[in-house]
């Protein structure tokens, strides 16, 4: 195409960006007029112009025409025209284009053309675009091409991978009848066919391992034939003296989807393969070319991955570890990088953990000397993975030392890792306190809130370390320039435990106070707020310095501070200190009770930051549990939180709910509003010591009241479905399905949400949060377990919510979900299916007691009545089922009219039980209902009535 070449030269000769744009616009105008002109263009011209448009697009300019001409080219019978048409469509047409129907029609024509080169073009196009529409319309044509005996090898190859692409788009595609023929493609004579099919089979295996189990023995024998062949056997499939490296790697990966083979002969054969691969690594290289060593080592690393996956043969694991140990000092940076990475996995296996530890010095050297930060990062990861109680002090020490000069890009993560290791392996908690304070000193900017919250939690929970912590922070605060995070920790700890060091004249109350206050003016408002709380706590601890503190609280600067929070704290603390008696002060400002034991939020943070390492850390933790159960804090029998309502205590055990996590440290009835989600540590730490009336303390985000218009479409309807049932689908769209499974006991509930990724792609930044609109935040407590931020394609992830009903409520909590799917941001706002009737227990009673109670509730405000039209069948059994599903009983033989339903239940809240009586009178002639609800609380009767009305 001479015209194209001329055009490209013109563009290249352009001296400036402007000249280029001018030339392009001229060309676009020309092409546009050609396409619009009266003269019909022949295929060659169309091809040329379409090709030019493509080139212009690839230069980075937008193209908004020419699509139709490209589609026309598809039906040309000249190969090159067709080929350019397909190329344009693959690169430029989006799956949602109006032309897609036409395109698919052309593709189908080519697929049935029996002309292999046309079939191949059509398949490549499908593989390149892979839209859902294609998957739906071609789900028969392509599999039949793949398994048909007439299809030539190269078409089979394309068909296999095209099918794979469609499966990723539409995971629900069924291969049913073809299963066995697809598996047997692993036996195909043509290595190219096997190479393509192996990828397809792996994807199918992931979907349905049981159905494709037969591929294991075929894969093992194919692999065995490859690794034992000499490099001349496989001719052009040998790559730089390595026999079929791509196929080998695919087979090794396929096998990682299964446990070690059960059949002893297959298993032995596989072990032999892996040993052969390890042996070959020790042989002298057959070529000095890097391609040879890369291909050989690619197979080796994949074999090691399989060995780690099987995690059953100590001999192989240790050999793998020794091999990687050699690579740690290899001259190739790439190999050192990969060796560090793979060793991380080996460190998590109990068989090879010790073997990995032998390389500790080399890894530490790598951390200090590698020139590439990404390699140093791997060294940090490995040190983290190989750390255990025996080497923790050394590794943490080295990491701290390195932190002083570490790259900014990895500091935050290193800080988290050091903090986790120090906590996990601390034998002596003074060491832990030292490490964290050192972290703040060395890398204060990178110490996230989670880290300093955690050190405070631990100090509060362990009385053996409190005095030491107070002394150490006091010393750390002496530094002329100390980080604000140090001031926060110092302020908090001295406010709680300053009395433990007050005996020493060098750290007498007034000295402590003056030291902290010397930092006050350099700090941000949130830290100042914290310091004000420290001061009021000092008044309780050290009455002798009350005047000095009151002077500060009463200073103009504080009383009229433009920051409302600071102003309010100063005024209220001042009032509190002057009005309250010593007893009241001592009660309100009492030492913090221990925090409930929970997963370290630092770990959660690390997972969020580095989703890829989640699996690794998960293994870590379980292993740690097995090996050293003593590593947990609070394991020394510290009392966990007292539960305020005795009635809920028993049932808490029953369900194993973590309701301790929900109570605020100070008597919860006196603490003000503000979100009390237990995941929000700020509430625990800062909201705690603040007496009633001050609100939720510094930094507690007020919950945004979401009105119903802020909800995702369908959320309300779906919520109502759950009024009469516990389990079902809460939400579903093209990407995501959310299922619900719930159980309730008295005032506690446990709601499991099951998120299913319906696509074949990862979701990233998957986060959920709960918001409680209006008063709801004080009426129920919702605690959630965070979910991983990455959700694999096709995966299902479970999230548990623990719900405590404090008092009766009408609104439902809002579940906010956000994630990124294929680059686009998704947000959902749904109602969590939690309604007041879920905390109701059905009550059985006879006619006498029912009517006695019914009559006792005769005040007008205790009754709510509604008359409404039936919206669904009035079948008796159905109605009965709904009432039972609602949570109340169905009492037979009470109402004189047998068609009526009478029902009773008791609603459990934290401190109260509320009786509910229900009477439902159907009128089948006019398809109406009269519903009457009576309750000791009028608001409850109203809510129950409104919910029930939606169900019949």
């Amino acid at each position: 195409m001479r015209g194209l070449a001329v055009f490209i030269s013109d563009i290249r000769n352009c001296k400036s960006k402007e000249a280029e744009i001018k030339r392009i616009n001229k060309e676009l105008a020309n092409i546009r007029s050609k396409f619009k002109g009266d003269k019909t263009l022949d295929g060659y011209q169309k091809k040329k112009y379409v090709c030019k448009l493509l080139f212009i697009f690839l230069l980075g300019h937008d193209i908004d025409f020419g699509h139709m001409e490209a589609v026309n080219l598809l039906s040309s019978n000249k190969y090159t025209e067709k080929q350019i048409g397909y190329l344009f469509i693959s690169v430029l047409i989006s799956a949602s284009s109006d032309l897609m129907k036409l395109v698919i029609q052309c593709i189908r024509n080519d697929l049935v053309s029996r002309n292999p080169i046309h079939i191949t073009l059509a398949l490549q196009c499908v593989a390149n675009i892979g839209s859902r529409e294609m998957a739906e319309s071609l789900s028969i044509d392509i599999p039949s091409l793949l398994v048909s005996g007439d299809t030539i090898d190269s078409v089979k190859q394309s068909a296999a991978l095209t099918l794979l692409r469609l499966l990723r788009t539409a995971p629900e595609l069924q291969m049913g009848e073809w299963t066995s023929r697809i598996i047997h493609l692993l036996n195909d004579q043509h290595m190219g066919v096997v190479t393509s099919a192996a990828s397809l089979i792996e994807a199918l295996v992931k979907k349905n391992p049981e159905e494709y189990k037969g591929c294991v023995s075929l894969a093992v024998s194919r692999l065995s034939r490859i690794v034992t062949s000499s490099y001349t056997d496989l001719q052009d499939y040998t790559y730089y003296f390595v026999p079929a490296p791509w196929l080998s790697v695919k087979l090794l990966r396929l096998l990682q989807n299964y446990p070690p083979p059960e059949d002893p002969s297959v298993r032995t054969r596989l072990t032999e393969c892996l040993e052969t691969i390890l042996n070959k690594a020790q042989e002298p290289p057959k070529s000095k070319k890097v391609q040879h060593s890369n291909a050989k080592n690619a197979v080796l690393f994949e074999a090691i991955n399989l060995i780690i996956h099987m995690d059953s043969d100590p001999n192989l694991l240790v050999r793998a570890c020794n091999q990687l140990g050699q690579f740690l000092q290899h001259k190739e940076t790439n190999l050192r990088y990969l060796a560090l990475e793979s060793m991380c996995l080996l460190a998590t296996s109990e068989f090879s953990h010790e073997a990995v530890k032998k390389h500790q010095d080399t890894v530490i050297t790598a951390l200090k000397t590698e020139r590439d930060v990404s390699v140093r990062q791997r060294a940090v990861d490995l040190l983290y993975a190989m750390c255990d109680r025996t080497n923790a002090e050394e590794i943490v020490g080295e990491m701290l030392e390195y932190l002083e000069t570490a790259d900014y890009s990895i500091r935050e993560e290193m800080v988290l890792k050091v903090a986790i290791l120090a906590e996990k392996y601390a034998v002596d908690y003074t060491w832990y306190v030292d490490v964290i304070l050192n972290l703040i000193r060395i890398a204060g900017d990178y110490v996230s809130e989670e880290v300093w919250y955690r050190v405070i939690q631990i100090v509060i929970n362990r009385d053996d370390v409190q005095g030491y912590a107070a002394k150490t922070v006091f010393e750390a605060l002496q530094a002329p320039a100390c980080h604000e995070n140090m001031v926060k920790v110092g302020g908090y700890i001295l406010g709680e435990f300053g009395n433990l060091i007050a005996g020493d004249p060098r750290s007498s109350p007034i000295v402590q106070f003056q030291l902290l206050h010397s930092k006050y003016h350099l700090c941000s408002p949130s830290t100042r707020g914290l310091l004000l709380s420290t001061y009021i706590k000092f008044i309780n601890l050290f009455p002798e310095i009350k005047p000095q503190i009151q002077e500060i609280l009463g200073s103009k600067n504080n009383m009229r501070n433009p920051d409302v929070e600071l102003q309010q704290r100063s005024i209220e603390y001042l009032q509190l200190s002057s009005k309250a008696t010593a007893d009241v002060l001592a009660t309100v400002l009492e030492e913090m009770p221990p925090f409930p034991e929970r997963e370290s939020s630092i770990l959660a943070k690390l997972k969020k930051k580095k989703p890829s390492s989640v699996a690794e850390t998960a293994i870590e933790t379980t292993k740690e549990h097995k090996a050293m159960p003593a590593a947990q804090i609070n394991s020394d029998g510290q009392p966990t939180l007292q539960i305020s309502s005795p009635s809920s205590a028993g049932s808490a055990d029953l369900l194993g709910l973590d309701i301790g996590g929900m109570s605020a440290p100070v008597d919860s009835s006196s603490s003000g509003g503000g979100g009390q989600s237990a995941s929000d540590l700020l509430v625990d730490i800062l909201g705690g010591p603040v007496p009633g009336g001050i609100g939720g303390g510094v930094g507690v985000g007020t919950t945004n009241g979401l009105d119903s218009s802020g909800l995702t479409v369908g959320a309300e309807e779906n919520f109502l479905k759950f009024i009469t049932k516990l389990n079902g689908v809460l939400y579903e769209n093209d990407l995501l399905q959310i299922g619900v499974k719930a159980e309730y006991r008295q005032n506690l509930g446990r709601v499991g949400l099951f998120y299913g990724n319906k696509t074949s792609f990862q979701f990233t930044q998957f986060t959920t949060s709960i918001s409680c609109p209006g008063q709801l935040s004080t009426q129920i407590n919702v605690t959630e377990k965070p979910v991983d931020t990455v959700m694999e394609g096709g995966a299902q992830v479970q999230q548990m919510y623990n719900i405590e009903c404090i008092s009766e409520f009408t609104e439902a909590p809002i579940l906010n979900i956000s994630f990124i799917s294929s680059g686009s941001n998704q947000k959902l706002h749904l109602k969590l299916p939690v309604s007041i009737n879920r905390f109701m227990e059905a009550t059985e009673m006879n006619a006498d007691s029912f009517f006695t109670r019914w009559k006792a509730l005769s005040q007008p405000e205790q009754e709510c009545q509604k008359i409404f039209k039936a919206t669904s069948s009035q079948d008796t059994e159905l109605t009965k089922a709904k009432i039972l599903g609602f949570g109340s009983s169905v009492l037979e033989g009470i109402d004189p009219n047998p068609d009526n339903f009478v029902s009773a239940g008791v609603i459990h809240t934290r401190n109260q039980q509320t009786g509910v009586l229900i009477r439902l009178e159907p009128n089948k002639q006019v398809e109406m209902y009269r519903l009457t609800v009576r309750s000791t609380k009028g608001s409850v009767a109203q809510t129950i009535c409104e919910f029930l009305e939606t169900q019949f």
């Binding site: 060659y44 593989a127 190269s154 052009d236 490296p245 391609q291 890369n294 680059g823 686009s824």
Partner: protein, 161 residues
């Protein structure tokens, strides 16, 4: 599965882009910008592998061109380097010691070759012979088709550019 492959020059000019997953043009441009800057900023002896978002990036420089692939966490980095190398070999064999200009002027060929080698982000055919045979067969058809056209064009019967 490979997610995309980018070819760009030392000056950061994109020469070829192949996406195996669907993204909007805006996202593609953003990703490209980010990766080009990231890779060009690295020094010669550094590791060829990078962690990037949830993906792994594997890159290698050949003369003035950078080849850069994004693969998924479970994919094999070393073998991805060799995918790049095999692709370079294919281009080299076809064009006869390939240079950046060949790819600029024959970008469509570079795409056709890639489609024969990789499909849907997976390796389809690793035999150099087989890929080149397929491309040669295409060229044969092209010559048959184009021959009469070029003569007409030489004679000035068609309006070019």
């Amino acid at each position: 599965m490979m997610q995309f492959m980018l070819l760009f020059s030392r000056q950061g000019k994109l020469r070829l882009q192949k996406w195996f997953v669907a993204h909007t043009d805006k996202v593609k441009k953003k990703i490209t910008r980010e990766l080009v800057t990231l890779v060009l900023g690295r020094k010669p002896k550094m590791c060829s592998f990078l962690e990037w978002k949830d993906l792994k990036v594997v890159y290698k420089r050949y003369a003035s061109l950078y080849f850069c692939c994004a693969i998924e966490p479970e994919d094999n980095e070393l073998l991805t380097l060799e995918i790049i190398h095999r692709y370079v070999e294919l281009l080299d064999k076809y064009f006869g010691s390939v240079c950046e200009l060949d790819i600029i002027f024959n970008f469509e060929k570079a795409y056709f070759m890639l489609d024969e080698f990789l499909l849907g982000g997976e390796v389809q055919e690793t035999s150099k012979k087989n890929v080149l045979k397929a491309i040669a067969a295409q060229d044969l058809l092209q010559e048959e088709n184009d021959e009469p056209k070029s003569i007409l064009e030489e004679m000035g019967f068609t309006v070019s550019s």
